[in-house]
Symmetry: C2
Amino acid sequence: MLTLYDYLPSGNGYKIRLLLSQLGMPFRLVEKDIQRGETRTPEFLAINANGRIPVLAWDDGRRLAESDAILFFLAEGTPFLPGDRFARAEVLQWMFFEQYSHEPYIAVARAWVHVYAKTVDSARLAEKREGGYQALGVMERHLAERRFFVAERYSIADIALYAYTHVADEGGFDLAGYPSVRAWLARVAAEPRYVPITQRVFS
Amino acid sequence: MLTLYDYLPSGNGYKIRLLLSQLGMPFRLVEKDIQRGETRTPEFLAINANGRIPVLAWDDGRRLAESDAILFFLAEGTPFLPGDRFARAEVLQWMFFEQYSHEPYIAVARAWVHVYAKTVDSARLAEKREGGYQALGVMERHLAERRFFVAERYSIADIALYAYTHVADEGGFDLAGYPSVRAWLARVAAEPRYVPITQRVFS
């Protein structure tokens, strides 16, 4: 049985929960509360030296960190990752875009405002908002003529970008000016075996 | 012939130049000066809507952005990417670590101090240094018992992490306390067909 070390409000963790649900793969969820420092204990650092969730663990001792690397591993050979070499690279392009140009702005603003609900320096938050809207603009232009990010089919590129985009409002982002992004969010949510971000029980 | 849109001081661009050299693949280098805003022109935004180098372009019109996605595409089926599915996922794990937990600290500190040589808020720089040393600590512990990052052989995981680590001193990082990282840097620099970061001519 697979074990997923995770924190329910995490979009990065949700990516894995959503794909595992859509693949019909059962797993054991072990929750680690980031806010209580449970990913920085010696015990957890032995699981992931970088001190972050999600981590996927196998019964034979193998472990994998980094949400998008886990998605790629799980999706290989399934309809969630194109078989064509160039399309696969495009999927990775969007996943690296997500981790570098999207998550550090949209997810971090949401964490500050919604998850930790802590007092934030307004200049720092404004920087996060600016970077987030820039990423949303890139997505909007790409989706204006496409149904999904790569090869006109739902893939782990969509899962990676959906995770924090669909809760961007919790970070104070207004998607009113991004109609193509909103239409795409609805398409993703309509996919078979979709589960919401904080669902704890899987079947 | 491949075309690489790039900026010579960029470690992200260097990753591609190094791998293309080691693969013996000729390419045309088109330099875009980030500091002059040459990656934010309408012309360049048509090449990459995210306004960043490197971008690899093919004569048939295909284009790929995001350094680590380009590395993955070029390395598939070569000795620079393991054939084993789990090892490939581990390579991706380290590349996502690089883009999320390493580059935003080590590369950005270097850009501020060395490339742009601009006046930087000391508190912001201290944050970058702290994050950078944390990433170096993760690398040091991993390399203490290994020659390379994945499967004991040189791969694109090493190229991705080498790019900014080997010039970390330009961002004010001191690697004295990271002997395993320094030994690994020397191993990478000794690989066949190695080229230095600012080399413009390739054969």
